[in-house]
């Protein structure tokens, strides 16, 4: 089977933009979670989120003009702008911008989103009701469709290979990386630009997740403390936004052109809970099987995994269920590996979470440094493995596993190792 490596990375997150900047802030223990100031939150139970900083806040902030002109951005809801920004960084980083037809046809895109253009849909619904159908913009549909991130990336770079988009809620980013890597393995493409993008921090998004009782509500006055995976004081996840995009490439293709290789994707496992539309199966069997399947796919023994980037959303149920599955799967080795949740610093980026966290896992491997679980001061009972509380931890990492679990009971695990 053809082997797949990672040759480009791009990030837009609540900690800022650019892989180097984000990693530095993440491992310094900075939190990107803040009080929402973009719209009225006075009647919403959860008033904090991981928001992408603007360029006015400093060099780490996001400059939409660097992605597309104001005119072109009218055709894109924010998730597309973030996805395109992360893709531009990743593609530039990889140096893969072919101009010949054959290479372009061998390069595809698979960038998904959990929800897509929710702000556009909400605003347009109000416009339709108040002013009628003639006021609906011709850009409304293409600005909202989830697969339009992939569309814009392909148009910008002339990538004419497979053009696809994953939609599996909070597993989207992980599934996109795993599925795109298989398209390369099966020979459908030599290079795939893969990941997830999300920008659903809007009134209807906050109201909807709050109604599902999924969000943190007790830390509105202290936003940076709201996301606290495995801590006794946790009370729900914190909404986040942004994008993570990777350039995936067939190993020999990457070597031949002398590409910088960050890591190899060695394992991908998927599963379904078959249990409930929002709650994870109580016994953690869905996550357990996704991790087990990824280990089997990688042909690894349990003891080779040194770091687990947990789904770890900071919900009362989910965190302990995932940790229980890790203990059951890894046995004694669960006490030797280190697991952390980077959602403690950036919140839950929904469809972008899996790809952002895959990038964090790759950077952990490269730097032999586990990013911390912020706010983990008083772990729940049974949360007795090494969860890298509060500060980053140096340790040897041979293989890193990243978990993503989504509403509907959809689970994905990815395993990375150092460049071959």
């Amino acid at each position: 089977m053809r082997r797949v490596v990672v040759t480009g990375l791009g990030l837009v997150t609540p900690l800022g933009c650019g892989v180097g900047t984000v990693w530095e802030r993440l491992t310094q223990g900075v939190s990107g979670i803040r009080a929402i100031n973009r719209f009225d939150v006075s009647d919403l139970p959860s008033q904090v989120a991981g928001l992408v900083p603007s360029k006015d806040e400093g060099a780490h902030g996001f400059d939409p003009d660097s992605v597309a002109s104001a005119k072109d951005r009218r055709r894109m809801d924010d998730f597309i702008v973030y996805g395109l920004a992360a893709a531009i960084e990743a593609v530039t980083d990889s140096g893969w911008m072919p101009t010949d037809e054959e290479s372009q046809e061998r390069t595809g895109v698979m960038i998904g989103s959990g929800i897509g253009g929710l702000p556009s849909i909400a605003d347009t619904a109000v416009l339709l009701k108040e002013h009628g159908p003639r006021k609906v913009s011709p850009f409304f549909i293409p600005a909202s469709l989830i697969n339009l991130v992939s569309g814009h990336v392909s148009i910008r770079y002339g990538f004419k290979g497979p053009n696809h988009a994953v939609v599996t809620a909070c597993s989207t980013g992980a599934h996109a990386i795993g599925d795109a890597s298989r398209l390369i393995m099966f020979g459908d493409a030599d290079v795939m630009v893969a990941g997830g993008a999300e920008a659903a921090v809007c009134r209807i998004g906050m109201a909807g997740f709050a109604a599902a009782r999924a969000l943190s509500t007790h830390y509105n006055a202290t936003p940076t403390e709201a996301s606290r995976p495995w801590d006794k004081g946790r009370d729900g996840f914190v909404m986040g936004e942004g994008s993570g995009v990777l350039v995936l490439e067939e190993l020999e293709h990457a070597k031949k052109r002398g590409a910088k290789i960050y890591a190899e994707i060695v394992g991908y496992g998927l599963s379904g809970d078959a249990y409930h539309i929002t709650a994870p199966a109580e016994d953690g069997s869905g996550g357990f099987r996704a991790m087990r399947n990824a280990l089997r796919n990688a042909n690894l023994s349990l003891e080779q995994i040194d770091y687990v980037n947990a789904h770890g959303t900071s919900t009362p149920l989910g965190d302990e269920i995932e940790l229980g599955a890790v203990k059951r799967l890894f046995g004694d080795h669960a006490y030797k590996l280190t697991m952390s949740s980077t959602k403690s610093a950036i919140g839950h980026l929904l469809g972008a979470a899996g790809s952002v966290e895959a990038i964090f896992s790759i950077l952990a491997l490269r730097n032999q440094l586990v990013p911390p679980t912020l706010n983990l001061r008083d772990p729940s009972d049974n949360c007795d493995i090494d969860l890298a509380p509060l500060v980053a931890k140096e340790r040897p990492i041979r293989y890193a596993l990243s978990n993503s679990f989504g509403f509907g009971g959809t689970n994905a695990s990815l395993i990375f190792t150092a460049a071959p």
Binding site: A70, K71, R75, R134, S137, P138, P142
Partner: protein, 78 residues
């Protein structure tokens, strides 16, 4: 330049992000100003908003240049 012509050109400059000098009377939205079919729909909506008139779809299809827009609006508004 008539008031209508000035306002039409201003809208075209804003919506298509083109230089004012390029927005001549005979300029075609698609061939000369880089618009696509969606841009032309949005332009017509912007004209309707600005001049408080309704431009039916069959009329909108015939508005291909800056001059077409100015003439339609001058003969249908007020």
């Amino acid at each position: 330049m008539s008031d209508v012509a000035e306002r039409v050109k201003k809208i075209v400059v804003e919506h298509l992000g083109v230089e004012e000098a390029k927005v001549t009377d005979t300029a075609s939205f698609i061939d000369d100003l880089g618009a696509d079919s969606l841009d032309t729909v949005e332009l017509v909506m912007a004209f309707e908003e600005e001049f408080g008139c309704e431009i039916p779809d069959d009329a909108a299809e015939k508005i291909l240049t800056v001059k077409d827009a100015i003439e339609f609006i001058e003969s249908h508004s007020g």
